[in-house]
């Protein structure tokens, strides 16, 4: 895996990014009623704690499949765009979160010089999206997130992001 990063995307790469966006859209639909049940019982904060990592999976999944610079970012933004278009309750916040989380997740691959696309990078990629998502939550729900809960949420989101990043990596190996 010590090859010089290839920059140009082929039609197959673009198609696979589309696949990642659609797969994440479907995961969301499958977990849909569960998510809203949790949201009704535990509120938006509770629902987020339970599902945090799932929202960060698109980036590590895309990057593990399309091993090229900006694949993590593109995967996350595309998944967010699909959710925005469907639309889901979050509407355009999906897109805003997607862009911000995608940039954070991309860092995990950037700091390794786009030469490594393994489980460590995938976990890191998921984890890095955590603090960003909670910061955006703090802007969206300032009334519901106090300084104390903020720290706890960052911790939860980061850990959950790392776990689901690993899952994304494992799943991406399905045809290997």
């Amino acid at each position: 895996m010590q090859t010089v990063p290839e920059l140009r995307y082929s039609a197959v790469d673009y198609a696979i990014l589309g696949v990642v966006a659609a797969v994440m859209g479907v995961v969301f639909v499958v977990a849909w009623d569960f998510y809203y049940l949790v949201k009704a019982l535990l509120g938006p904060i509770g629902a987020r704690v339970f599902t945090y990592g799932i929202w960060f999976m698109a980036a590590p999944l895309a990057a593990s499949l399309v091993r090229k610079p900006l694949s993590a970012f593109s995967g996350e933004v595309l998944a967010a765009l699909v959710e925005t278009i469907i639309p889901t309750y979050g509407g355009y916040t999906n897109l805003i979160y997607g862009v911000a989380q995608g940039l954070a997740s991309e860092l995990a691959y950037l700091i390794f010089g786009y030469r490594r696309w393994g489980p460590l990078q995938a976990a890191l990629s998921g984890a890095l999206a955590g603090p960003v998502a909670v910061t955006l939550d703090q802007i969206l729900f300032p009334e519901l997130i106090t300084a104390k809960t903020f720290a706890a949420l960052v911790l939860a989101a980061t850990a959950s992001g790392a776990l689901y990043g690993l899952i994304a990596y494992g799943v991406s190996r399905v045809r290997k």
Binding site: S10, V12, A15, V174, R175, K176
Partner: protein, 489 residues
């Protein structure tokens, strides 16, 4: 410049078949050599060679069928001659290829789309756009051609009334026609078809053949990759036989020896081997006045009895309700009326992949044993227990899905198009296993588009069309399917 006559994008509509004037007159003058020539001494991925020695030649206007059993490298050959193997998939090709006067492997890969049209096995693995019109316009916009032409192609393939529909709302046959429209709209010189009949019903096969025939008459060079050659009798000029990565025989259709072709897994005669009937009197399942509706479609079964050891074929057009009937019997859909199944029913979907839950074949077998309570069917040698089930060949996946089903010891086995994508040998193996299982008292209900499978396996045939189910005679069913496919035996 040659005279263009009254050619226009819509000209094909105004002029009924057969056309006396060549359809693409201008093309002949610009590109006198527009066939396919390939001398490949090796092709594959990394250190693994899949093709070893292939000589392929189709002159301009010729129709060539590349035949051979599954896994001999037919698809790799298609990828190699179009330059995809080298330029897109990171593989390699040694040798010379000329495609419509281009060098697809090195210099001219980018120009290939202007010269060829491509139709792949499964429309769902080809159609990229969410809407019908856009799928056709996609080709045109890519090549910088006027997008208005899309309408002509849609009209020609009977899809104009669905131009703004979502692709996912089309039937299997309509999706197939859409891939044809999108592949021919830019008037290519060469049409490449990779097992185009694998996913469509006999009526769709008939349509497809007529379209291909028309294209051939109009002077298109056509390359067909197929193992069910029998479906296309009368359409093709020449045959190229592939065997383990090398071309071993080439010649005209008249010269071909059907016996030799069948020895190499190529379906030519389309005659199945009828097996003895083994069913007993004991009733395993029955349906009475059963009705099930979804999305405005209703399936109605007045009366159906299934006896132990019986093998029942469901035939009929796509979207007619075959899968729905199987799923009702499998207990996935609840219908009004009476339904009873003695013991367990197990449904094996058309894509065997849907059934897999574990990361390795060994784990799959263990899981099936644990959850099903019985020993699964033995797997053929050559399947590595550590391999991911998703990495197996299509035939092996089909086998694994049956093995899993067997671990649940159903009384009623429900198979949704179990032979799609399988070559002659694999179909033989599969029908043998199913026959053995039915001898032990298992009742099997399967849907199929293949008259040969009906011939070799069915005790009874149910025609499921337009939400209605009626029992028909086995011979009658076979001749109905052959007629739909426009095949005479």
């Amino acid at each position: 410049m040659p005279p263009r006559g009254n050619w226009s994008p819509l000209g094909c509509l105004a002029t009924p078949r057969p056309l006396r004037i060549p359809y693409f007159p201008h093309l002949y003058y610009h590109y006198p050599m527009s066939g396919v020539e390939a001398e490949i001494s090796g092709a594959g991925y990394g250190v693994k060679a899949i093709l070893h020695d292939v000589r392929l030649s189709a002159k301009a206007g010729e129709t060539l069928a590349v035949v051979g059993r599954s896994g001999v490298g037919k698809t790799t050959l298609m990828l190699s001659v179009t330059g995809v193997l080298d330029n897109l998939l990171g593989g390699w090709t040694r040798g010379k290829v000329s495609l419509a006067g281009l060098d697809p492997i090195k210099r001219d890969f980018k120009e290939v789309p202007r010269k060829i049209g491509i139709v792949l096995q499964d429309p769902d693995r080809q159609l990229a756009m969410p809407f019908v019109l856009d799928e056709v316009a996609f080709t045109l916009r890519n090549l910088g051609l006027p997008e208005k032409r899309a309408w002509g192609a849609l009209l020609r393939f009977g899809l104009a009334h669905k131009a703004y529909a979502e692709v996912e709302t089309l039937s299997g046959g309509e999706k197939r026609r859409l891939t044809l429209a999108a592949s021919l709209v830019h008037e290519p010189e060469i049409l490449i078809l990779d097992e185009p009949s694998a996913s469509i019903d006999p009526w769709g096969v008939g349509d497809l053949k007529r379209y291909v025939q028309t294209m051939a008459e109009k002077g298109l060079t056509i390359l067909l990759i197929e193992h069910k050659l029998g479906f296309y009798r009368g359409v093709f000029d020449r045959i190229l036989l592939l065997e383990a990565g090398s071309s071993t025989w080439a010649g005209s259709v008249e010269e071909a020896d059907p016996r030799i072709l069948e020895e190499h897994g190529v379906d030519y005669t389309l005659i199945g081997r009828p097996r003895e009937r083994v069913f007993t009197g004991e009733r395993v399942a029955f349906l009475r006045d059963c009705e099930f509706s979804y999305d405005g479609f209703t399936l109605r079964v007045d009366e159906l009895d299934i006896r132990a050891g019986e093998r029942i074929a469901l035939i009929g057009p796509n979207g007619g309700g075959k899968t729905t009937l199987l799923k009702i019997l499998g207990g996935f859909h609840r219908c009004s009326g009476e339904i009873s199944v003695a013991g367990r029913a197990f449904y094996v979907p058309q894509h065997p992949d849907y059934l897999f839950v574990r990361p390795s074949v060994g784990d799959e077998v263990r899981d099936a044993r644990e959850k099903g309570g019985h020993e699964p069917l033995g797997l053929p040698t050559g399947i590595d227990a550590g391999s991911s089930p998703y990495r197996l060949s299509h035939g092996q996946r089909r086998w694994l899905s049956l093995a899993i089903a067997h671990a649940f010891r159903p009384r009623l086995l429900l198979l949704d198009e179990p032979t799609t994508g399988l070559d002659l040998f694999l179909v033989e193996q599969l029908t043998d296993v199913l026959w053995r299982l039915s001898k032990s008292g298992l009742s099997i209900v399967f849907s199929t588009h293949d008259p040969r499978v009906v011939m070799s396996l069915a005790d009874r045939v149910l025609l499921v069309a337009d939400g209605r189910v009626s029992e028909i005679d086995v011979d009658e069913a076979i001749s109905m399917m052959l007629e739909a496919m426009d095949i005479e035996i």
